[in-house]
């Protein structure tokens, strides 16, 4: 890579910089994202960039091939351990009789009473995301099941723009080494899947005001 290349990137950045700055000034640069962008699309996130050839048949609307492993061919990312509490895992320790699943929407009284849906709750129920017959996995709208360390694919079904940004490292966060091995934090490391609004934080101490410096 040479200096010319660098300069091109810089010019690119500068040109957009000006534009972004003026946009920021004229719009008041409201960082709150437009809510209107949520559409409950059912196909996997990214119609433009998704490598369709890599998707399992069911996600392409084709009948599943029984010889295929469900996720074998799809794109996966290195992620840290999903933040599921230890006392809840495995789910199948309690959810062991798929025949007896209660599919009705209701207020849970016996278990999981701390889980209250604040996530498009009028249109959603637990079993839209959790698999009714195998509680240790999630399922996509297509019926394909995925493990909890791929939950980004579930979120990506409806939040395609964020999923796209996450895949290239713009939304969310990577840990590890900038020059080598990385891990991608799952969406659920930052957003509770049941109540995903990012919770406010207590700020750490402000700097000492010059007046107070002895």
């Amino acid at each position: 890579m040479d200096a010319r290349f660098l300069r091109i990137i810089m010019q690119f950045a500068l040109a957009f910089g000006l534009a972004a700055f003026s946009i920021a000034l004229t719009t008041g640069c409201d960082p709150a994202p437009a809510k209107a962008s949520h559409k409950a699309a059912v196909d996997e996130a990214d119609p433009v960039h998704a490598d369709k050839a890599n998707l399992p048949p069911a996600e392409l609307g084709l009948p599943p091939n029984p010889l295929n492993m469900p996720n074998a061919a799809s794109q996966t990312f290195p992620v840290p351990k999903p933040p599921i509490s230890n006392e809840m895992w495995p789910c199948s320790s309690c959810h062991d009789s798929p025949e007896e699943v209660n599919r009705t929407r209701r207020v849970l009284k016996e278990e999981h009473t701390n889980i209250v849906l604040h996530h498009d709750e009028e249109n959603r129920w637990c079993l839209d995301c959790h698999d009714a017959t195998n509680r240790d996995v999630l399922h996509l709208a297509s019926g394909v099941t995925i493990t909890f360390d791929e939950s980004y694919r579930l979120c990506g079904q409806c939040h395609g723009d964020k999923y796209r940004d996450w895949k290239v490292g713009v939304h969310g966060k990577r840990t590890g080494s900038w020059s080598g091995e990385k891990q991608y934090l799952l969406c659920v490391h930052c957003h509770s899947p049941h109540s995903p609004h990012f919770k406010p934080l207590k700020p750490e101490a402000p700097p000492v005001h010059p007046d107070q410096i002895r």
């Binding site: 972004a20 700055f21 700097p207």
Partner: protein, 331 residues
């Protein structure tokens, strides 16, 4: 040499470029550096004094150590082991001082997502811990807490408006309604005005783009602080206060090793981490993932993703400082 320029710089761009080849004379450090620093401490920023201070060192050759920038590998090795011994004694624990050089094909850059940042200041304090900044001194008369990152709170309505920004906000919870937050730290300019005004070339840009300070060579004149349009440099007005139990023992000679009274310091993209493949501490701590860091020359880096997918802007573009620190709205 601009070291005898009689005036404080006002317009950075008019300062002659003194970044060419450096004189090769070896100069003394050791206690001498203290003398030089004391010297300027007891004077106001008066140029005649400064030039006297800077030039007086010329006549004091013959000391063992040389300036960091001119050292060869053996000299660096000697310096490192003497520093390690010194710090070990001072803090009573093992300390590793490195001098990892810039890697070939690496140009560091940084990007910050203003639509994610919530102003929680986790970065500010992680930076202080990682980089051994002076802490608030509980009982000293010379309180000198130093922070390299400043998080500014601004009104969404007004957009980026540095004149009406405050770093002192302290509500129960952030983000506050109607506000947004803009952390500012050294912008690691490609064309840094700060290095050009240093009368003794104690600060310069490394090949990977990190602007560093030679703490032993700095005479404390603070020209660089005046020249920096981002207010990103800090001065040790008092003896830095760094309790032994708070020392980060993983150090770099041009980074987080303990500073002296009377020297200038600044963000180095955590040179002790970044030159060893790690993300800077502020990137690692950020709970919202607003901070992106990487190699501008690596097409697969997060930083390139940001530049290619988002509209970025830089602070005070008109000054032609060409920051390697970008801001963007991830939305």
């Amino acid at each position: 040499m601009s070291c005898c320029s009689p005036e404080l710089p006002e317009v950075p761009t008019e300062i002659p470029d003194v970044e060419g080849p450096l004189p090769t004379t070896k100069r003394g450090l050791g206690d001498l550096s203290l003398t030089r620093r004391e010297f300027s401490k007891h004077t106001a920023i008066v140029a005649s004094f400064l030039s006297a201070a800077a030039c007086s060192t010329d006549s004091m050759d013959g000391f063992v150590k040389s300036r960091l920038r001119e050292m060869d590998r053996n000299e660096l090795k000697d310096l490192i082991s003497s520093l390690e011994r010194k710090y070990k004694k001072r803090f009573n624990k093992d300390v590793q001082v490195r001098a990892t050089p810039a890697a070939e094909g690496v140009r560091f850059a940084y990007a910050l997502d203003l639509s994610r940042c919530v102003g929680c200041r986790r970065c500010v304090h992680a930076c202080v811990k990682e980089n051994n900044q002076s802490r608030p001194n509980p009982d000293g008369d010379h309180n000198n807490p130093i922070q390299w990152i400043r998080v500014l709170e601004m009104n969404k309505e007004e957009g980026v408006d540095l004149a009406h920004a405050t770093p002192y906000y302290n509500p129960e919870e952030v983000p506050r309604e109607g506000k947004f937050y803009m952390p500012v730290q050294c912008q690691q300019c490609e064309n840094p005005p700060c290095t050009k005004v240093c009368p003794v070339q104690a600060t310069w840009k490394e090949p990977d783009g990190i602007v560093v300070v030679d703490y032993e060579w700095c005479i404390g004149c603070r020209y660089c602080m005046v020249a920096c349009p981002y207010g990103a440099r800090r001065f040790n007005w008092a003896e830095p206060y760094l309790p032994a139990d708070q020392v980060n023992p993983n150090m770099h000679v041009m980074g987080n090793r303990p500073r002296l009274k009377g020297v200038v310091e600044k963000c180095t993209f955590c040179i002790q981490r970044s030159r060893n493949g790690r993300y800077p501490a502020c990137v690692e701590i950020c709970p919202v993932g607003a901070r992106k860091f990487g190699n501008l020359l690596d097409p697969k880096s997060e930083i390139r993703s940001v530049l290619e997918n988002k509209r970025v802007f830089i602070l005070k573009e008109d000054l032609n400082t060409q920051p390697r620190f970008f801001y963007f709205y991830g939305i």
